[in-house]
């Protein structure tokens, strides 16, 4: 079952002409002409669609909260910052099918009553930026954006906001601060962006992949969507699969896949190599050792393996776990925004310890400090970045993957 990639031709971008031919913007027409905003939100709610950025928050609920704020300026933001290492789903979506994201945004803005929309785009995604800019221009030309869209009373202005290199700006409140011309540091939550977002106004922030599902749901109905795959995580998901597999790349599949199924999607383990472990969800994702491949990643809160943003990285015996540990912590230390002490200093100290582990100087002091440091990062940082930085190392210790650490 494919929703997001069904019309993709080999390495080509679906321009407006091709997108129209595949039924593009029919859902927007349907929404604007035949459905009230309440009806749109009801369909999305019925679909059970959950946020694809990693959080898995129900989209219908988010939209309803913002819809209920009456008589004020509201904003609609598409989060296309995608800087979790190992993920390339939103970037590829924007490069291949930019209108699918835009259509979801326009329908979403109509549903919640927002007249100003932004795409927060990772500053390094030059190709995606070009495709989106072209697509936005086409939309203005065809009256799919601007005033009185398709003859309705709905106006929407949409612009791209380019990030400038900061992982934390994928976090919605940091992203909002960034657009406001501030440092991209996260805000205290609550209040959530739905209540107090961009410039203090109610704001929806949705991931690009989430938005790419909207047109299908409006056309085919929420109920049909809710029956695809698993009932607690309905719909399909894009998986960025890489590492020791035969055909690394982007794959779309429903969410009843076990870890083993996901590896098979990409052609199985690369010939001649043996699987050592798998990481799901980027550098902040859980580690799945060889014996646990029959687990199913999902958005369900009681799932052992959160699906996160859907990246799958397969490690073989060629990969040195100590070097991988260092790669993870280097990333978090570099991207820690510095706002709170436990994260700024904690990631720095953890990096020092893991450097010593890698060059053979891990000592008794390090062994004693490590659990305290992990606890501090896990429990006391201002935003989830600190927690993210220790997910993988906790698993490495839990599964006794490095002798010195146990």
């Amino acid at each position: 079952m494919k929703i997001l990639t069904k019309n993709w031709e080999a390495n080509q971008t679906l321009g407006l002409g091709e997108y129209f031919k595949t039924g593009g913007y029919q859902a927007l027409k349907k929404a604007l002409k035949k459905m009230s905003p309440e009806k749109v939100i009801k369909e999305i709610d019925k679909s059970g669609l959950k946020g694809r950025g990693g959080g898995g928050f129900p989209v219908g609920q988010k939209w309803k909260i913002v819809f209920d704020k009456k008589n004020q300026q509201k904003y609609f933001i598409c989060n296309l910052d995608e800087s979790e290492p190992g993920n390339f789903k939103d970037k590829t979506l924007a490069e291949r099918s930019p209108h699918q994201i835009l259509e979801g945004m326009i329908i979403g803005a109509y549903a919640v009553g927002a007249n100003q929309a932004f795409i927060y785009l990772n500053g390094t995604f030059k190709e995606a930026g070009q495709e989106l800019e072209k697509a936005i221009e086409e939309c203005y030309r065809e009256n799919l954006l601007g005033e009185n869209i398709l003859g309705s009373k709905f106006d929407l202005n949409l612009e791209i906001f380019y990030g400038a290199g900061a992982y934390i700006c994928g976090e919605e409140s940091a992203l909002i601060n960034s657009i406001e011309g501030k440092k991209g540091e996260p805000r205290k939550k609550p209040p959530y962006p739905c209540d107090w977002g961009l410039f203090g106004k109610p704001t929806v922030v949705n991931n690009a992949e989430t938005l790419a599902n909207i047109s299908w749901i409006i056309e085919n109905g929420g109920e049909k969507f809710s029956k695809i795959g698993k009932t607690d995580s309905p719909g399909t998901k894009l998986f960025s699969i890489d590492g020791a597999v035969e055909n690394p790349g982007l794959y779309e599949s429903s969410m009843n896949n076990t870890v083993e199924d996901l590896i098979h999607l990409a052609g199985g383990i690369k010939q001649g190599l043996n699987l050592k472990f798998v990481q799901i969800g980027g550098s902040s994702g859980r580690i799945i050792p060889k014996g646990y491949l029959s687990e199913t990643p999902s958005y369900s809160p009681d799932s052992e393996i959160p699906i996160g943003s859907g990246s799958v990285l397969v490690f073989s015996e060629l990969d040195d776990i100590k070097k991988v540990l260092l790669s993870w912590i280097n990333f978090f230390q570099r991207e820690s925004c510095g706002k709170c002490v436990p994260c700024r200093e904690g990631t720095f100290r953890l990096k020092q310890i893991l450097e010593r582990l890698e060059n053979g100087n891990f000592d008794e002091n390090d062994r004693q400090d490590l659990p305290k440091l992990i606890w501090t990062l896990d429990n006391t940082t201002f935003c989830p970045l600190g927690k993210f930085s220790v997910v993988a190392i906790k698993d490495v210790i839990k599964y006794r993957m490095v002798r010195e650490l146990n």
Binding site: N87, F88, G123, T124, E180, S283, K323, N330, R334
Partner: protein, 147 residues
């Protein structure tokens, strides 16, 4: 184009602050103290505010960069494709430790840019190169920059 001319492309609204900083950085390669002052006055913000924003983001330079800036992705995906070896080889060719700058070169690690399948990934003066080997990086800086 002068800083003032670049600023005039952006109406003085808050949503244009980072955009203007990026544009000035792109044109001159970095944001000088003088530029910070001009941007601050244009947007009616304090210099410390503009400095805090400019210093926060990786793409913005607060010092004049070296003529050739080499960045290597050390993300876990690129690491499975031996990014650490690539870095070591370039370090020994340039006689420069990663994280440092000399008269001609700056060598740094960078975060994932989403081209994982084609890794290891490097960026030279802002342009992304994929499936990099040390030989390719060296050939590139020799042919393109004459070092």
């Amino acid at each position: 184009m002068t800083i003032q001319r670049i600023l005039l492309l952006f109406p003085p609204k808050e949503k244009n602050i980072l955009r203007a900083i990026k544009a000035v950085n792109e044109k001159f390669g970095w944001i000088s103290d003088e530029a910070i002052g001009k941007i601050a006055r244009y947007f009616n913000k304090s210099e410390s505010h503009i400095f805090s924003v400019a210093s926060f983001y990786d793409e913005i330079n607060l010092e004049k960069p070296a003529p050739v800036v080499i960045e290597i992705c050390d993300g876990a995906n690129c690491q499975t494709k031996s990014a650490d070896n690539l870095i070591k080889k370039i370090e020994s060719f340039l006689k420069l430790k990663v994280g440092n700058t000399n008269r001609n070169f700056s060598l740094n690690k960078m975060s994932c840019v989403g081209r994982c399948v084609e890794g290891p990934v490097a960026k030279v003066n802002g342009v992304i190169y994929t499936q990099m080997t040390a030989d390719k990086v060296i050939a590139l800086i020799q042919s393109k920059f004459g070092y």
